[in-house]
């Protein structure tokens, strides 16, 4: 079982149900990734629906948390997008909660981190990218393309500026998805590596066993850091979406 000691083993997608013959994955195969997507959805829904069940004037703990999430994302949308962003608030909220719950559930030992898979984060980023682009074209029409040729730039710079702006625009979904995925991947791998050190150093026996405390301290500190990153990356994903959206809905007409 040398394979199971690999720090990347935790990211393996395993089929749990609806598998094809000889364990091959099919389109609807229910994997551990699917399970944690469902758990993230259930978790977010429980917090927001079960947490708000009393609709108290003076909120309890769970209701405070639900309202805090609401106010946090609503404030983010209000400040970054403005009144035009109101209709996109449910999407950004769902995005934030889905990523936050996926990241947080991934912190549970032996669990699976949905957002550590590039295909998932890339799909989310592509949805954001396509959505924002379509909104921008729908709202601004031909003016959308002035984005690639900012006002005031001399005409002879166009051959340089326009390709740069287009590449920068097209690289948005890549940077957005890679940032989240790489953060999750690196964090969880580091944790696993240091946790492996604890086991192997204790396993050496004698005086060396005692030194196993050092990577343990490291793992503890890293775990705290990972919780911060889990929140921070959900925030970064949501706020970048807001900024892209703000550009689309508040584009100035020259």
């Amino acid at each position: 079982m040398a394979e199971s000691h690999s720090p990347l083993e935790q990211f393996k997608v395993k089929c749990l149900a609806l598998c094809g013959e000889s364990g091959q994955l099919q389109a609807f195969s229910f994997t551990n990734a699917s399970l944690f997507m469902v758990l993230a959805t259930v978790g977010a829904t429980l917090l927001m629906v079960y947490g708000m069940r009393q609709r108290s004037l003076v909120p309890g703990r769970l209701q405070s948390l639900a309202e805090l999430s609401y106010e946090f994302v609503a404030g983010m949308v209000r400040e970054n997008v403005g009144p035009n962003g109101r209709q996109y608030f449910p999407f950004i909220f769902s995005l934030f909660m889905f990523i936050l719950f996926s990241n947080m559930l991934g912190m549970i030992p032996y669990s699976f981190t949905v957002t550590s898979h590039i295909i998932v984060t890339f799909a989310l980023a592509v949805v954001v990218f396509l959505g924002v682009t379509l909104i921008a074209i729908a709202r601004n029409g031909i003016h959308f393309f002035t984005h690639f040729m900012p006002a005031g730039v001399p005409m002879w710079l166009a051959p340089v500026i326009v390709p740069i702006e287009i590449i920068s625009y097209l690289s948005r979904p890549i940077s957005l998805s890679l940032r989240l995925c790489a953060n999750m991947l690196a964090g969880h791998t580091t944790l696993k590596v240091f946790a492996g050190f604890v086991v192997s150093m204790i396993g050496m026996g004698g005086a060396l066993s005692v030194s196993g405390i050092l990577p343990l301290i490291m793992v503890t500190a890293l775990t705290a850091l990972e919780f911060l990153i889990a929140f921070l990356q959900a925030y970064v994903f949501a706020i970048l979406t807001c900024l892209y959206l703000a550009e689309a809905v508040n584009m100035e007409h020259h």
């Binding site: 708000m52 309202e67 590039i118 295909i119 799909a123």
Partner: protein
């Protein structure tokens, strides 16, 4: 690296679509309107309560102002009544005094008149008494009674000299 196993891509995308779509619908249709209702309701309630408090404060201030105005009016009226009463009482007293003075003056006048009358009567009777006495004295001394007219004239002359 498990992330690069392309066979896992399709089921992950399919389940991402399913779960995220469900989450979006639940959030947009159920959870967020509910939270918005509670949060907005609380905001409205707070605003309403603050307005109510401000209104009550205004009412209190108005009541205090009314009270002070009423107090000032009552004080002014009390002073008015007191002044009026004082004026009326002093007028009454003055009238009474005037009446009493008048009565006293009247009585004094009557008494003086009576005294004067009594004095004149006394003087008159004194004249006749003096005449009688003078007649008697003359009769005793001369043995003959004088004429009444002569006696009366002599007495009147004597009394006029006296006065």
């Amino acid at each position: 690296m498990p992330q690069l196993e392309t066979a896992t891509f399709l089921p992950q995308l399919v389940w991402l679509l399913i779960t995220f779509a469900i989450l979006y619908v639940l959030m947009a249709k159920v959870a967020l309107p509910r939270v918005a209702e509670v949060v907005d309701g609380r905001k409205k309630r707070l605003e309403h309560d603050l307005e109510e408090a401000a209104r009550l404060k205004r009412e209190t201030e108005k009541a205090i102002a009314d009270y002070e105005q009423a107090l000032a009016q009552a004080r002014a009226r009390a002073q008015g009544i007191a002044g009026e009463t004082r004026t009326r009482l002093s007028a009454d007293a003055a009238a009474l005094r005037a009446r009493v003075d008048a009565e006293i003056a009247e009585q004094t006048r009557t008494a003086e008149a009576r005294i004067l009358a009594a004095k004149q009567q006394a003087l008159a009777s004194l004249t006749s008494v003096a005449a009688d006495a003078a007649s008697d004295v003359v009769a005793r001394l001369s043995g003959a009674a004088p004429a009444t007219d002569a006696v009366n004239a002599a007495v009147a002359q004597a009394m006029a000299k006296q006065n």
